[in-house]
């Protein structure tokens, strides 16, 4: 399956495209996406600790705008948003 992770906030620094694509196995979970992102940061940014911490402290949001937990199963190609720690106002 192809998953596009849409980047927000500090995670926008991970790619100029504001989006990272991953090829994942069927029935993968959000936890697998998180692991893929950590691997991506190891490769592209030499394991930048600040970037990895952003992924570790983020939540993820489905196309239907629901925040989902790490064991949520991804059943189709879709766009997932990474939601880093927030602070508006």
């Amino acid at each position: 399956m192809k998953i596009k992770v849409e980047l927000f906030g500090a995670s926008r620094e991970f790619s100029k495209n504001n989006l990272i694509e991953f090829e994942i196995k069927n029935n993968s979970t959000i936890k697998n996406i998180r692991d893929e992102m950590i691997n991506y940061l190891d490769l592209k940014f030499d394991g930048n600790k600040d970037f990895k911490k952003i992924v570790e402290t983020s939540v993820f949001c489905t196309e239907n705008n629901n925040i989902v937990s790490d064991n949520y199963k991804i059943t189709k190609n879709q766009k997932i948003a990474i939601i880093p720690p927030i602070g508006g106002g």
Partner: protein
């Protein structure tokens, strides 16, 4: 009655007069306007501007949820609430957020206004990138969002 919107500042600016029009009614005897503006200092750094980023759909959803729950949690039934948050680059002193509320009485207006801004800080996916006088910039660390729906 709720107005909730993200304003792309490339298209328009947030304006108090629109908030005033929306909440104005003889049903209400108390109105409060809260604005957040860009400050020139943070963590001992001289700030020249802030870029705001947002997940628009989730932010609007959070505004609607916060508005709805004020009925049960605060028991404030009759109210007008206007919330707008900016997205994009703002200079010093520019408005990043307006929360305008109108209620029958002042007690509930103060409570409502404070409740809404505190919940937005905790729950609405909005991010700030500060820009400094030395041409550096940094995303603020923020607080992890609470995952309530597993």
């Amino acid at each position: 009655m709720l107005h909730a919107k993200i304003i792309n500042i490339k298209e328009k600016r947030i304006s108090l007069s629109e908030a005033e029009k929306f909440i104005s009614s003889s049903d209400y005897g108390a109105s409060i306007y809260f604005t957040g503006t860009v400050r020139n200092q943070n963590n001992n750094k001289s700030v020249i501007g802030i870029t705001y980023d947002s997940h628009d759909a989730l932010v609007i959803k959070s505004f609607e949820e916060i508005y709805k729950e004020t009925e049960k949690k605060l028991n404030i039934l009759n109210k007008a609430v206007f919330i707008e948050h900016a997205k994009g680059y703002l200079n010093l002193g520019e408005i990043s957020i307006i929360i305008a509320v109108a209620c029958k009485h002042r007690d509930e207006a103060y409570i409502l206004s404070r409740y809404i801004i505190e919940e937005i800080k905790k729950r609405s996916p909005i991010w700030k990138k500060e820009h400094y006088v030395d041409n550096q910039s940094d995303w603020l660390k923020g607080n992890p969002i609470v995952n309530e729906k597993n």
